[in-house]
């Protein structure tokens, strides 16, 4: 286990010291300071020492050894971790396949398979220090070669559905689709150096994300279920898709850290929260993956502990600009102007979150820039739509038939109707929604939390990238984003961000109605089961109090 109270290396990084000064001057919140300085390679303890505080973060309790825990969560078929497309996949394999870096609930990063990392001043070179004394459960030593092999695997953009390639950014050679020559250097057994052609501050958040599970150097691209080889304390004992997955402590494996439970079962109870609740009352599991909507209160009412996390997760009600009439910026602006986001927050998710600003940077992101408030003017919105020649056009808003998507889109549609627009709602079940979801003209997409504001902009709004569903393409935006990616000083970056956010509002790219709070419930006595902003569950941390 990664011990936050361990004396840190004499930390320093010029930028971190600068952040510390900013924090002391009141320009940075503690969370922002932590995100930035730990992303530069400082341990959280070192970061805290810079601002003269004792680490109060990641205070995980130490539960007694032993016990079995059951977690309600979807059990999906596993595959090559690079192609994971659901957080659940990472959660279920995290007991076997660990990560280099972990993102903590408080916004800091800490090393798991890395002991630490440093960057040079302009963030083009990362030096990763591999944790010594880690072995694979097949007896092999975990070395820098494993780390380098995984980086090479992540950079392989020829693998269908490998989302890690996008997170590696400039490390991927655009011509070969493989890692850039000289980009990944094994310095010695415990050191790997990553050389980037351009500054990139998102590398560490990128390798803390769920598709970056570390596989054995010879097993890259395989399904962990096929071999059960990993550095973690657990291994799969049973795996039935859609039913349950059981992990047990691997016998004869000297795990490098602490793991408390003897075995953990993930119980798949489908997607209906009412069924979860019935099963909770029947005593069939001990903690939820996520509790939503009215069930937040219901689970609390039956005596379960509630844990919540504020996040940058949202539901973007987005246009696809390749489709008429949404190719017309005036139409998009009119719709944005007609929708009162406070109402959408209240009706869409029962007010369980904070109101958004129609750009995809959340106030908890370090580089968030405060913009003047958006105006809602229904009369002006309708006039704008009429001026654009679409006053009578029927606008169809498509959503998935689940609580979040349906209620939020219903609220958006109602706001638009209030302004006098003609809106048709189309609610599709999961079985048909997902086929064409990327190309629907006007629809809603759920986005998870990302650690830095630039990350989501890179992923979703840069011209032509795979996850760009809005078909937004703007040269100024792209070049400013490139610029922002290289600015590690969040204040300097904020100036660029302000313009980026402004462009999103001016171009009316998407409706970002709110920032969601996430909830989880667990039975009293479950330890370290708090909700994580990225839905992560690390079964190594979990335990049961005596």
């Amino acid at each position: 286990m990664n011990d936050p109270t361990k004396p840190a290396r004499p930390a320093s990084h010029p930028a971190a010291e600068m952040y510390a000064r900013e924090y002391k001057a009141g320009q940075l919140s503690r969370r922002e300071f932590l995100v930035r300085s730990t992303a530069l390679g400082l341990s959280a303890a070192a970061a805290y020492s810079l601002i003269g505080l004792k680490p109060a973060m990641a205070q995980r309790a130490t539960p007694p050894m032993g016990g079995s825990l059951r977690i309600q969560q979807g059990v999906l078929a596993l595959k090559d971790p690079r192609t994971y497309d659901w957080s659940e996949m990472g959660n279920v394999s995290r007991g076997l396949l660990e990560y280099l870096v972990e993102y903590n609930r408080d916004g800091s990063f800490s090393g798991i398979l890395l002991e630490g990392w440093e960057t040079n001043a302009d963030v083009t070179q990362y030096t990763l220090r591999v944790r010594p004394g880690v072995t694979w459960n097949n007896g092999d030593a975990f070395t820098a070669e494993d780390v380098a092999a995984n980086f090479r695997g992540w950079c392989d953009s020829t693998v269908e559905g490998n989302s890690m390639a996008a997170r590696m950014g400039g490390l991927v050679d655009a011509d070969t689709g493989q890692a850039r020559e000289g980009g990944i250097v094994v310095v010695d057994d415990l050191t790997v150096q990553i050389n980037l052609p351009a500054p990139d501050i998102t590398l560490i958040p990128g390798i803390a994300d769920y598709p970056s599970a570390i596989q054995h150097r010879d097993l890259i691209g395989t399904n962990p279920l096929d071999h059960n080889v990993g550095t973690g304390a657990y291994r799969f004992a049973d795996y039935q898709v859609g039913i349950s997955a059981r992990l047990e402590r691997t016998p004869d494996h000297a795990y490098w850290g602490n793991a408390y439970l003897d075995d953990v079962t993930f119980v798949d109870l489908g997607t209906d929260p009412a069924a979860w609740f019935a099963a909770a009352e029947a005593g069939e599991f001990d903690m939820t993956y996520q509790t939503v909507g009215e069930f937040v209160d219901l689970f609390s009412a039956v005596g379960w502990e509630r844990s919540d996390a504020t996040t940058g997760a949202t539901l973007a009600v987005r246009f696809n600009q390749l489709n008429a009439p949404y190719d017309n910026v005036e139409v998009r602006r009119a719709i944005l102007e007609a929708v009162d986001l406070n109402v959408v927050l209240e009706l869409g998710i029962n007010g369980q979150g904070t109101v958004g600003e129609n750009h995809h940077v959340c106030p908890i992101h370090p580089e968030y820039a405060q913009l003047p408030p958006m105006t809602v003017d229904k009369a002006a919105a309708m006039a704008r739509l009429q001026a654009a020649g679409h006053g009578d056009t029927e606008l169809t808003l498509i959503s998935l038939d689940d609580g979040l998507g349906r209620f939020t889109c219903d609220a958006v549609a109602a706001q638009m109707r209030d302004a006098g627009m003609t809106v048709t709602r189309e609610v599709l079940p999961g079985s048909t929604f997902w086929n064409d979801w990327l190309s629907y003209p006007f629809s809603a997409t759920e986005w998870n939390h990302r650690e830095l504001g630039v990350q989501i902009l890179n992923l979703a709004y840069r011209s032509g990238v795979a996850w760009n569903e809005t078909a937004f393409s703007n040269a100024e935006f792209d070049s400013l984003l490139d610029q922002a990616n290289g600015i590690q000083d969040a204040d300097a970056r904020r100036e660029v961000m302000a313009r980026l956010q402004q462009i999103m509002q001016e171009e009316a790219v998407t409706i970002v109605p709110y920032w969601r709070s996430l909830f989880r419930h667990y039975r009293p006595g479950v330890v370290n089961a708090d909700m994580h902003p990225k839905f992560e569950i690390n079964i190594h941390h979990l335990g049961l109090s005596a």
């Binding site: 078929a77 596993l78 595959k79 192609t83 497309d85 020829t158 269908e160 559905g161 989302s163 399904n223 279920l225 096929d226 039935q240 898709v241 859609g242 039913i243 119980v267 109870l269 489908g270 069924a275 019935a278 099963a279 009352e281 029947a282 005593g283 069939e284 219901l298 009412a301 039956v302 999961g430 079985s431 048909t432 997902w434 086929n435 990327l438 795979a466 996850w467």
Partner: protein, 362 residues
């Protein structure tokens, strides 16, 4: 008789063939295959990637040929992957050399295929699930049949009596309430700690805490208990019970007006003895076929109840296979369903011949 059974088996094979082809056709429609590729590959795959994925995984050929492969009358596909250079094929086991693989591997060879969602052989999945459903069906029958007969006989003893009217009303009500309604009502009434009976009982001190019954039958997959199995069993049993009870009542009422009963009455035999010794045996012939007919009917009930109570048996598997477009698992489920329907019909036809000598089968 032998010819009759042979002909029935022939009909069964033909029905299975038609049904599986329909299922195969529907699951292989282009949007369904696209969905399959996106769930198996990556949800954000581009159209070109989808086509490449389908081609590489053997979904590219013409539909009839692939149906033939599944049946085992057309050799399974086998080709070298253009991207990785690996050999891939329908009949290729993991790590097997292409020349060692079987040429045919389909239903006729006893190979039910591969479940894409579960990433496992269909035969490995179906067996355990059928067993679970078997247990549920057994208990549903054990509750449904005796109680339905009892209610039917009670109601039919004195046609038109107050007892008859109230029992008949109950029977009609239970038959008219489908499983997805009665199941939810039962859960709300008996298995919630917030509403229904359980909080009342806790308040009165009759119940320590929690609920009277469990609203989820998941734990019954390991260990069937009164608490976790009552609600799913009752949900299925209630629906079928009314129907059997009504049939039994009609049959009983008819027998009770027969000449020999009147004679027995005139002779002064007690009502109790008339019912138990004279009427009952004759009255139970008619419900037999009805009871056999319940088997295929139960299959649909099981689909609903297993999904509602999270009991991962055959019905639940069928729903999952359909909603995930898990082609070969769904085909295997259809074969099992055809088999159950036709075998129970066969049994009821044969049984009827033995019960009713007026019917003869050449």
């Amino acid at each position: 008789m032998a010819f009759f059974i042979l002909r029935r088996i022939g009909v069964m094979a033909l029905t299975a063939l038609c049904l599986t082809f329909v299922v195969f056709f529907l699951t292989n429609l282009a949007p369904n295959l696209e969905k399959l590729a996106k769930t198996q590959g990556n949800a954000r795959m581009s159209d070109a990637e989808v086509i490449s994925w389908l081609d590489r995984n053997g979904y590219g050929g013409p539909l009839v040929m692939r149906y033939g492969e599944w049946l085992g009358v057309v050799p399974g596909w086998l080709r070298e992957d253009p991207v990785t250079g690996e050999w891939r094929g329908r009949c290729l086991e993991d790590g097997q050399a292409p020349e060692d693989a079987d040429r045919f591997c389909g239903l006729l060879q006893g190979d039910l295929g591969y479940s894409t969602v579960s990433a496992d052989e269909v035969s490995n999945i179906i067996g355990g699930r059928l067993q679970l459903t078997g247990i549920l069906m057994f208990w549903a029958f054990a509750v449904m049949v005796p109680s339905a007969l009892f209610v039917g006989v009670l109601a039919g003893m004195r046609e038109g009596s107050r007892l008859d009217r109230s029992l008949s009303t109950l029977s009609i009500a239970s038959t008219a309430t489908p499983e997805y309604v009665s199941g939810v009502i039962l859960i709300v009434l008996l298995a919630s700690s917030q509403i229904g009976l359980s909080p009342l009982l806790v308040e009165w001190g009759w119940l320590d805490s929690g609920t009277l019954f469990l609203g989820s039958a998941r734990s019954a997959m390991d260990d069937v208990t009164f608490w976790n199995f009552t609600l799913p069993v009752m949900t299925i049993a209630l629906y079928g019970m009314g129907y059997i009870a009504r049939m039994t009542r009609a049959s009983m009422a008819e027998v009770m007006t027969a000449q020999y009963i009147r004679t027995a009455r005139l002779k002064g035999v007690s009502f109790r003895n008339i019912v138990l010794k004279h009427a009952l045996r004759n009255a139970l012939i008619a419900p037999f076929t009805v009871i056999m007919l319940q088997f295929p009917w139960l299959l649909t009930g099981v689909v609903i109840v297993e999904t509602l109570f999270n009991y991962n048996g055959f019905g639940w598997t069928l729903v999952q296979a359909a909603s995930n477009n898990d082609i070969e698992l769904l085909l295997a489920c259809s074969i099992v369903a055809v088999f159950v329907v036709l075998v129970t019909q066969l049994i009821s036809d044969i049984g009827y011949v033995f019960l009713n000598p007026r019917i003869r089968i050449a």
